[in-house]
């Protein structure tokens, strides 16, 4: 991050002596584990914490006594932290860290679920997993749009605007035509329209890309809000009643316990999003286009020397990003809700965070998006069981996690070298 601007201060975070990064992470994890053991253990009740593998209270369930679970998982987390602190082989680092973090979350859940009122002390895992994916979906599309742009060297802060424009134009043209597929295409075009503005101003007129992104977001909010009030509010039947994609059940896969009902009975956007992660990942790292895109994002001059058309590749990728984000916007209006003013409500910025958290890779972005989606879903769930933790603080989680990530506490993140720098041939 911005190491070019402040080289000396940024390098200061590099591992030195005993306190290598794994050790620091281990110390933090150990502290979290102890906190979980003591605090969550003390606050948890003797009630059972049930994690049911269905949508309701019934069915198969994993069950553990609250206090016991909170302490047990807390100790596991602390143990993982201690192992990292003592020093584990490098290849074990991610695994141990993962186990530690999951144990910490489980300890937290044991406390929360067991402290819920009698009769509500269960967590329907199918709902949680499904909700996580539903809430992560716009983030996945948005972060993929970011990957496409930023890997080729154009900063995309306009994800919010692209999602919003996609949602709006999907709703508008879907309603006018009465056809979901027309709506889907229109959504892609709407997202691409914002992208086009971004591309022209960033690539042709060399306007600062972050500034342009911020302004385009405001423009998208303004235009969609204006047309919403003028058209959709006055005649919702005509302009804001888009048909919706139904859920498609995938035979066989839908019967897998837990994952089946959560993942394989979704709508087209769910499948499309997951497919796009795979496709973009393969394309980026296994094809000629991907190699060129990455080279244009890291060192455009070198790429140009080798005959890659830097500007036209950037144009194409930015437009493609708009298409992807536009479809992401449609995952609201062509599947779940009708359009309302500013309905994306900051998801574009969380998508940006997911992109950074996922270190500019499609799979990383997917995992980050799922993590943010889970935090979001958890906030909803804890609100429903009357948790003592205000859900506003849970809602802050993705943002705080991102701040920690870019500050280098959860591993260093590095943007493509030429990200945000306009390329002028010469």
């Amino acid at each position: 991050m911005s190491t070019t601007a402040v080289p000396d201060v940024a390098v200061a975070a590099v591992d030195e002596g005993f306190w290598t990064r794994p050790r620091k992470v281990g110390a933090v994890l150990l502290a979290l584990g102890v906190l979980a053991t003591v605090l969550f253990g003390a606050l948890a009740t003797g009630q059972q914490a049930r994690f049911t593998l269905s949508e309701t209270e019934g069915g198969a369930a994993l069950e553990i006594q609250g206090t016991l679970g909170a302490i047990l998982f807390g100790v596991v987390a602390a143990g993982a932290g201690g192992a990292l602190l003592a020093g584990v082989p490098k290849r074990w680092f991610t695994l141990v860290l993962g186990v530690g973090l999951v144990a910490f979350v489980l300890s937290f859940l044991c406390w929360q679920v067991s402290a819920a009122p009698e009769g509500r002390n269960f967590m329907p895992m199918v709902n949680i997993v499904r909700g996580t994916f539903v809430l992560a979906l716009p983030l996945i599309f948005g972060a993929l749009a970011g990957v496409l742009c930023e890997r080729s060297g154009v900063v995309n802060v306009a994800i919010e605007g692209q999602l919003l424009m996609g949602a709006f134009s999907g709703a508008l043209f879907g309603s006018l035509s009465g056809n979901v597929w027309v709506g889907l295409v229109a959504a892609a075009v709407g997202g691409a329209f914002i992208s086009l503005l971004l591309a022209v101003f960033a690539i042709r007129y060399l306007v600062d890309q972050v500034v342009m992104g911020v302004v385009l977001n405001l423009l998208a909010v303004g235009v969609t809000g204006f047309l919403y009030e003028r058209l959709m509010q006055t005649d919702a039947d005509k302009y804001n009643s888009a048909p919706r994609f139904g859920n498609w059940e995938i035979p066989l896969l839908k019967d897998i316990p837990l994952l089946g009902p959560a993942l394989f009975r979704g709508n087209i956007f769910l499948y499309l999003g997951l497919l796009l992660v795979l496709v973009i990942h393969l394309a980026l790292f296994r094809t000629r286009w991907g190699l060129r895109t990455r080279s244009v994002g890291e060192h455009p001059t070198a790429a140009d020397t080798l005959g890659v058309k830097v500007l036209s590749l950037r144009y194409r990728n930015v437009l493609l990003a708009g298409v992807v984000a536009g479809i992401g916007g449609a995952s609201y209006t062509l599947a779940l809700y009708s359009f309302t003013k500013n309905m994306i409500g900051g998801k574009g910025f969380i998508a940006l965070a997911a992109l950074i958290f996922g270190r500019w890779s499609p799979t990383g972005a997917l995992l980050a998006a799922l993590f943010f989606g889970f935090a979001d879903q958890l906030a909803t769930y804890l609100g429903a069981i009357g948790s003592s933790i205000p859900n506003q603080f849970l809602a802050m989680l993705p943002y705080l996690a991102t701040i920690l990530a870019v500050a280098g506490l959860v591993g260093r993140v590095r943007a493509p070298a030429a990200d945000g720098k306009p390329y002028v041939k010469g």
């Binding site: 911005s2 601007a5 306007v207 385009l216 235009v223 809000g225 500050a407 280098g408 943007a415 990200d419």
Partner: protein
């Protein structure tokens, strides 16, 4: 083809900002060294001739005015396409073109006339209060925008992009409001304490990205965006806490600020303009002094232009980044405070600060990141806001159109090359038109 900084300008004119100097200075100087004949003496033009020459050149004022015109044209198109009645007349435009043109003209001109009447002067208004009311409204909306605009502009000059003015203003409004209703203090002291509390709230929210940038290199754009949301959730949490929430209300609204902490109104109780606008002018002056006349201002501009060179020259980049963000946060916090201490509202609600932080970004860009430019830009935006209210209630044109106009103006400003191309302007004598300041991730 698309050189944003035409080097045709005379070399002695300094570019608009130091950042620009850093970006283009080398090229400029190189060009002048190889072509010293550029400023060859010719017959001295008359003043009137110079004026006319400059009028259609791509200078700051011309580009700004033309950007406004372009934005209003796009706005007019939006008004027309979103009006089903007018749109219907376009169905038979080949048969009777006058119908379509008349209908379009009527709806657009009426909307913009109301915009003007709401913002500047209504010729049909009778009486002192009614005549001054539009100006009063404009100034009321201007005051907080000056603060958030200055906040963003100051950070820009230090080489930082403060997207967090929104969050800093949110923290400012929270602390100012809490100080405003929780502390039992005498009138003037109470107001001062509330303003200080607001500034402190903003300063803390500016300090965090500042110190992170300085210590770890974490990009301030990302951190300020994230902190904006953290502030929003904090606001929505604190409003409903005991002691903060209004005990007589079930919805999310805080207790009202005591009248002893309110900014005094300037023109009587019927006009909303309050002392915030005076504070805004004062702050503009102070920031102009800070930037151009103080040691800190010099260091700040040096760091903004080129942090490496500044460090070599013995300036502490770390300290400067932190200070810039703290001061920027204080300014935004003060801007936020006005939203409860002024006449807009007197209690916290989830939407109490509206969009002033994000609008501040636009204001700073439109004002070319100079303090007095920010003041003028805020005045324009305040006028658009005030006029937009009247346009909404009289012509039924949604207030969102104002957001569109504001964003479009700044887009056109940000790409002076585009405006130049559209209107075939000559290159300005001094190449001062480049808003590119931040440097990507």
């Amino acid at each position: 083809m698309s050189n944003p900084n035409p080097v045709s300008g005379s070399p002695d004119k300094e570019p608009a900002t130091e950042a620009e100097l850093a970006l283009t200075g080398k090229a400029d100087r190189g060009a002048t060294m190889t072509s010293p004949k550029q400023s060859a003496p010719g017959p001295r033009p008359t003043l009137g001739r110079l004026f006319l020459d400059n009028l259609w050149a791509a200078n700051t004022v011309t580009v700004t005015v033309l950007a406004l015109v372009l934005a209003m044209l796009v706005g007019a198109v939006l008004i027309i396409v979103s009006d089903p009645d007018v749109l219907a007349t376009y169905g038979y435009i080949t048969a009777r073109p006058t119908d379509a043109l008349n209908a379009s003209w009527t709806v657009v001109s009426e909307a913009y006339a109301n915009l003007f009447k709401g913002a500047v002067f209504d010729p049909e208004a009778s009486g002192f209060t009614a005549a001054l009311s539009p100006i009063s409204e404009t100034l009321t909306y201007t005051a907080p925008l000056v603060f958030t605009g200055l906040s963003v502009a100051l950070a820009f000059r230090g080489g930082l992009f403060n997207i967090g003015a929104q969050g800093q203003a949110t923290m400012g409004v929270i602390l100012a409001a809490v100080a405003g209703f929780a502390l039992p203090l005498p009138p003037v002291v109470h107001l001062v304490v509330a303003l200080i509390a607001g500034a402190a709230g903003g300063a803390v929210w500016g300090f965090v990205p500042g110190i992170l940038k300085a210590r770890t290199g974490a990009h301030e754009v990302i951190n300020t965006i994230m902190l904006n949301y953290v502030a929003v959730y904090f606001l929505s949490w604190i409003i409903v806490q005991n002691g903060v929430q209004n005990p007589d209300r079930a919805d999310a609204i805080s207790r009202p600020v005591d009248s002893s902490a309110a900014l005094p109104r300037l023109l009587g109780d019927n006009l909303r303009v309050h002392a915030g606008i005076l504070l805004a002018v004062l702050a503009t002056w102070a920031i102009a002094w800070l930037l151009n006349r103080s040691t800190l201002g010099f260091e700040l501009r040096a760091v903004g232009a080129n942090p490496d060179a500044a460090r070599t020259a013995g300036i502490s980049v770390t300290k400067t980044y932190v200070l810039v963000m703290v001061i920027a946060g204080m300014l935004a916090g003060l801007g936020g405070s006005q939203m409860v201490l002024g006449s807009t509202a007197n209690a916290l609600t989830p939407l109490v600060i509206a969009q002033i932080g994000f609008d501040g970004i636009l204001v700073a860009l439109l004002g070319r990141v100079k303090p007095w430019g920010v003041l003028l830009a805020a005045l324009l935006f305040g006028a658009l806001q005030a006029g937009g209210n009247r346009m909404q209630s009289y012509s039924g044109i949604s207030l969102e159109l104002v957001t569109v106009l504001q964003a479009l103006i700044v887009i056109f400003i940000a790409a002076p090359a585009l405006v130049k191309a559209i209107f075939q302007l000559r290159a300005a004598r001094a190449a001062r038109l480049q808003t590119s300041l931040a440097k990507g991730w």
